[in-house]
């Protein structure tokens, strides 16, 4: 995206985002393809968060078909989504804490740890990032042998390594000075602008679809929603950091409690007549897919709305009146993924 900035000396007077550089027309193409063939395409807008987009696309179809996914399938989807959330948060923290702060240390930390999670993804689904794992009725594969041990090993390693991020960055006065009290979004403004995800929770609003409207196995798992009330860039970074820890707790419970049984139900490849909207909490916020079916195997209309597009309105609001040197930190703290916003 391009940000057009008008400045008065060093202070930004007005900032206008110009987006659409990656607009590929996913919604239009989805109308002319079979619902199964749409899955890889609909997941591409956020390649680092594939499992959430996948689930969000499949959920309205399952609702219209009236099919109930077996418990084991829901648990496997939850496990994949939480692993994906940790990987995506490490990516977001690496970009803001690293590249946009002017160094590459956090970038290397974040991406280095993320590689372990991508190995787990590959073991479960066959691909590092583009899983296309959920289908209407369940998931495509069961947990392979040795997956549980490898997952627990990776979680143990992350628990050992995450305090290093705490020591190196959060007690580092340079990083804290750059992010503390920069880009403050108050609670009333956050609600008014309709932001979602870590941006919302960093401003003191305790809302998360996993708790408010539980789906999958989330109503059976015990976890917290980290919220910080300061509303500055550091709070948004900290929300992601704490969410990684919560995701690790969810993964430990899910892999321990996963029931035996089938992983999918066979369903016909048709969308019955009707409309349905899904709500899934991805790493960057709530995503929705609104699907209208007309009885054929192609959707009549697919409307996608993603966390980054909802958070876009915060950018011109936050950039008013700040120093131009604060722009990268504020932009990084929103964890804006341009491809997801443009679809």
């Amino acid at each position: 995206m391009r940000i057009m900035v008008k400045t008065d000396g060093d202070l930004i007077v007005e900032a206008t985002p110009d987006i659409g550089y990656v607009h590929r027309g996913v919604e239009k193409i989805a109308e002319s393809r079979n619902i199964i063939k749409n899955i890889p395409m609909v997941c591409r807008p956020n390649i680092a968060d594939d499992s959430h987009l996948n689930w969000s696309y499949i959920a309205p179809i399952e609702e219209l078909q009236g099919v109930e996914v077996p418990e084991r399938g829901l648990y496997i989807r939850t496990i994949l989504c939480e692993m994906n959330r940790i990987a995506s948060h490490l990516y977001g923290m690496a970009i803001m804490g690293g590249v946009f702060s002017g160094h590459t240390t956090m970038y290397m930390f974040g991406f280095g740890d993320r590689e372990l999670l991508l190995d787990l993804h590959e073991m479960l689904t066959g691909a590092r990032m583009t899983f296309s794992f959920s289908v209407p009725g369940g998931v495509r594969r069961d947990l392979p042998k040795g997956f549980k041990e490898k997952l627990l090993d990776t979680l143990d390693y992350l628990e050992f390594h995450l305090p290093a991020i705490d020591r190196i960055f959060l007690s580092n006065p340079i990083f804290v000075e750059r992010a503390r009290n920069v880009g403050v979004l108050r609670k009333e403004d956050a609600i008014r602008l309709g932001v979602v995800g870590p941006v919302l929770r960093g401003s003191g609003v305790r809302c998360d679809v996993r708790k408010d409207a539980p789906y999958g196995a989330y109503d059976k798992l015990d976890f917290e929603i980290p919220t910080f009330k300061e509303g500055d860039s550091l709070s948004r970074w900290l929300v992601r950091f704490e969410e990684i820890k919560q995701s690790m707790a969810i993964l430990r419970q899910a892999i321990r409690d996963i029931p035996k049984g089938p992983i999918a139900r066979k369903v016909p490849i048709v969308i019955p007549r009707g409309e349905a909207i899904s709500r899934i909490e991805s790493a960057r916020g709530e995503i929705n897919h609104y699907i209208i079916g007309d009885g054929s195997d192609k959707p009549y209309r697919v409307k996608m709305n993603t966390g980054s597009f909802k958070n876009l309105l915060a950018l011109p609001f936050l950039l008013k009146g700040v120093h131009i040197g604060d722009l990268p930190i504020i932009y990084g703290s929103l964890d804006y993924w341009p491809i997801e916003a443009d679809r």
Binding site: Y21, R24, K28, I29, A48, M108, G112, R114, P338
Partner: protein
Amino acid sequence: MSPAPGVWVGSLRHLVETVVGLPPFKHLVNWSRIYSLWPVHLTTACCSAEFGALMCPRYDPERFGMQAAAGSMRQSDLLIIEGTITKKMLKRVKVIWEQMPNPKYAIAMGDCACSGGLFHDSYSIINEVQKAIPIDIYVPGCPPRPEALLNAIIKLREKIRREEVYPK
């Protein structure tokens, strides 16, 4: 003759270009070029996530001299076109390509950059980037694994090693 730095004048320039094009100097110049390929990380679409993963400690392209370098196009040699190029983006890609000084190389990464890929029937993308920018290496995949991209960079290095210093 490719554009040369402004210092050379007339036949002195021609003399230097001939000498540098001869084997011992040519190998030295090409060797230095391949060990300092600085990429412009043109994050257009999804493949940029795999390019970002390439720059991380596991794959370590810095041993090849590829640094996730400074922001300026004027200091980069390698344009990696990652993912789909939309019609809106094409103008900016051309501007970036023109800003890069010679010698410069381009890699088309991902199915979308090679031929349109998953979105080939979209109303807003360019299917054939090679008509706008001369591509040296095509890397298929959706997205290509970092190892595939590293393989492409190694092939590009072999291509540069065989090249003339001042191509006609």
